[in-house]
Amino acid sequence: MATTLNEHIVTSYEDELTNLNKIISEMGGMVEQAITEGASALLKLDHQQAQDVRQFDKRIDEIQQRINDAAVSIIARRQPMAADLRMVVTAIQVANDLERTGDMAKQLAKRALQIESLNLAPKFYNGVKHMKDLVARQLQAALDAYLTRDSKAAIDVCSRDDEVDAIYNSLFRELLTYMMEDPRNITQCTHLLFCAKSLERVGDHATNIAEAAYYLETGRHLGADEQQRQPR
């Protein structure tokens, strides 16, 4: 199926679909910003920034509502078919994943507020910082794949999720080692472990968005297609 679609005969319908894509793009930008700032608040223990991220989450929730309303309105008034139907359905899914990703950013900010009084050694941070960079790239790539309807890029995002998991596991072991070295590290390291878990979830949401991108373009499910491709 072609990636670029012809225009609708009804211009206002075309505009509504374009607008839906635009709001998702906007929401994606907001969520990327939230993750970056949430992580930054955590790494710099910036109290104000952490508060800002928590406030920002309300706006993310609002924009998700806007996407859902727009999608429901298109279904009710236009009865979308085929590629249009997939676009509207995946818009709802992607908005949901983005909203959850926004929640993860809020979690990071909350942790920042909790650990700001604790004296953290910089070495504890390195793994979390590395992981944040990786999942932020994953999220961006997944959104790009969705907005440009690029199923190949979507497959790449999904195949890189193993990297995120591997980093999470090694970070888990690393933090465990610090805790065993000195029990006074336990509180800080446990907080960071939760942060790592949140970032790992962001990676999962990025994968979901990439899967939606694949379905949007091909009309098939990536999981099922991958199974068929693998030799028995």
Binding site: A2, M81, A82, A83, L85, R86, R220
Partner: protein, 285 residues
């Protein structure tokens, strides 16, 4: 099999050819139901004008097959071939076969009597066209032609099909009034009852709800849902939503050719051909 692929690729631009033939070929292989009829390499000419070009189409038994496509694509022409309506005008010509299963008779062959074909294949038109007779006589007409004149037998069958057409409760007290006294939706259900009375194997519906309001449309769609348990139905419709709602299989036609055939679910969520997609989503082709 190979013919259908060839037809599709002839039509398609070269870069699309591969997808078209592959998808169409797959769809006709995977039809998991017994067939009631099969269109084989059917072409049709209105005098000099070729309206159908090598159509290949399986019709699944006791399923609803929808024919969709823009005006002038040949879907009504194809539908009318099934009961030899085109025979009414001189100079029209068929080539190829429409085979009724299981006995495998080619109903467009000159050697087959069109009257006998029409007894097996009923048709309902876009505008309700009851006979200028009473409600009762409209339904009984087909039975009388078959030589059924016994009042008790007629009464029984008339009630049965009027019930089947979801019209009985509305007309049981005025069976002798003129069919023209009924509303448009009721007249259309009466026409369906009239079609059902001689127990056809195949029912052709040519945009049966295009002149009806949403409620009357819903009643007819409910009726189609019920009928498919016993009869095979082919429906021509301009409403994509209607095709999506009520059909099991769907065929998309364009300029006299069959572009894509497949399960309705597939056709409306993930059509294989760009032209199908453009048509059902309302884009410029």
């Amino acid at each position: 099999m190979t013919d259908i692929a060839a037809t599709a690729s002839e039509f398609a631009a070269p870069e699309e050819a591969a997808t078209v033939s592959a998808h169409t070929a797959d769809a006709s292989i995977s039809i998991p139901h017994a067939l009631r009829a099969e269109v084989r390499n059917l072409s049709f000419w209105y005098k000099e004008f070729q309206a159908l070009k090598g159509i290949q189409l399986p019709i699944a038994d006791r399923k609803v097959t929808a024919l969709i496509g823009a005006s002038g694509c040949g879907k009504s022409t194809l539908l009318r071939c099934f009961n030899r309506m085109h025979d009414l005008y001189a100079g029209n010509r068929y080539d190829g076969e429409i085979v009724l299963k299981p006995e495998g008779e080619n109903i467009v062959s000159r050697s087959v009597d069109p009257i006998l074909v029409r007894m097996r294949v009923g048709m309902v038109f876009q505008k309700p066209n009851p006979f200028p007779k009473s409600i009762y006589e409209n339904v009984a007409a087909g039975l009388r032609i078959r030589g059924i004149n016994k009042r008790s037998a007629l009464d029984e069958r008339v009630e049965q099909v009027l019930r089947q057409a979801a019209l009985w409760n509305e007309v049981k007290d005025r069976l002798d009034s003129s069919a023209y006294d009924l509303s448009g939706g009721q007249q259309q259900r009466l026409c369906i009852a009239r079609t059902l009375a001689p127990e056809p194997e195949l029912i052709l519906l040519d945009e049966p709800t295009s002149a009806l309001d949403p409620i009357a449309t819903a009643v007819i769609e409910e009726l189609v849902d019920e009928l498919r348990k016993n009869v095979t139905i082919i429906i021509v419709t301009h409403s994509m939503q209607q095709a999506a709602r009520i059909s099991d299989y769907c065929a998309f036609m364009h300029l006299g050719q069959l572009i894509e055939f497949g399960e309705t679910e597939q056709m409306f969520t993930n059509p294989g051909n760009v032209k199908t997609q453009d048509y059902i989503t309302g884009r410029f082709g």
